[in-house]
Symmetry: D2
Amino acid sequence: MKPVFQIQRRVEFYETDMAGIVHFSNFFRFMEACEHAFLRSLDHELHGMLDGLETGWPRVHATCDYRAPARFGDLLDVRLFIDEVRKRSVRYRFEVAKDETLVAEGSIAAAHVAITADGIKAVPLPEVLKLKLESMTCPS
Amino acid sequence: MKPVFQIQRRVEFYETDMAGIVHFSNFFRFMEACEHAFLRSLDHELHGMLDGLETGWPRVHATCDYRAPARFGDLLDVRLFIDEVRKRSVRYRFEVAKDETLVAEGSIAAAHVAITADGIKAVPLPEVLKLKLESMTCPS
Amino acid sequence: MKPVFQIQRRVEFYETDMAGIVHFSNFFRFMEACEHAFLRSLDHELHGMLDGLETGWPRVHATCDYRAPARFGDLLDVRLFIDEVRKRSVRYRFEVAKDETLVAEGSIAAAHVAITADGIKAVPLPEVLKLKLESMTCPS
Amino acid sequence: MKPVFQIQRRVEFYETDMAGIVHFSNFFRFMEACEHAFLRSLDHELHGMLDGLETGWPRVHATCDYRAPARFGDLLDVRLFIDEVRKRSVRYRFEVAKDETLVAEGSIAAAHVAITADGIKAVPLPEVLKLKLESMTCPS
């Protein structure tokens, strides 16, 4: 399946651990970096405003399956797919690959929230963004 | 359910992000820190030897559900449960809580491997460790 | 010289790199964690208020000399000394040791700032805090 | 002064902290990433071999002065200069800038070591690399 968006990342030394491979927690950072680059490509302000309130995308769920190790200096492709667009949340799916080798597969579900005086509350996605994302949905 | 093991962690400044909360990737580090403290408590060398080969526990799967934000200075309880012990892998389950509030729930599945000249290959858990872990299994 | 304050930290797996030792950038996190625990011990709110403005302590300088490697599972002592207290800033000095071995020495200079609508500006330290810190100053 | 080498980096969300700016420890990672990209550009294997021993570049000193905050999404230029080439070590100097604004200045001194059965010991830089680096030296 063709990804909706993708980035390339070189594995940095500080992303490895004493086992000589990328620490598993860093794959969640690779996925988020891809998500943010994707939203930037849509001209969507990650931290926008809605009715005078600051908005954001806290994560509600994240998962990753590790298929093969990634090492220092590896050039990784991080591919984004859109699994599901809901009224107040989005679920992305990701593949991380090195050349022809699938290194990891994961997903992130993010809620769209506004920051109010009382805390945060889920709010609908901006309509323009929602339509764009829906048109790119590709459930696995 | 009573956890098999638990640690406390104070949230550090560098673990927060610009949304003012703990970055979601750090919960995987909290879970792993708890797993390692648990193995240490069993007198199990995390990076041991088997038939002259170095062994380790690469992750094959990790997942987390975020229930409530954690903030700088929060004192978190990280609780470990053992979901399943297999011949060459273990699946742990975790809860992260702040006082009475459940902050996150997650799981990590780790394979037991030996590092050979040709790469890594899954090897059976040491028998003593396997028996200990099995006696503490508590599937959700 | 007797430190003003100290904490202990166990080196976590995710703090190591492929060279099998703690990544050098993490020593700055150890030092900051010690500084924050110190301010907490003085009942000083790290992110306080001054005349209705939020305050903070951005770093203006940081340095570290590495004397010996630290490894996964090592129990490190992080010791804080106060080098200099100025009107709007403090300079701390740190030692990181493993048992009798000095692992690293470093320093952090932090400005005291208020966050205004126009950005941040340096503001005087709260008088009570300033007096406490001055009484504990121990230049190297 | 014209840098010897430079890279660009987009500030990622996970590199920010609750003060809304890049955490100060991450600038050391930016500098190291630039150093490694530089060595890669010289076709120098970061973790090479010398007389059958694995070699590496542990840091002996690192320092950074913070001039202006960097924020999520900022595109940073990281510029490398060579301060001094010695028999068994190199000292680099770095500038981090956002457009015309200098964000940070720092330096890293790295020793060239071989990993022996007894630990690590400093060893001379490979002659070819030493000559290349010397020809690019630009003390501040």
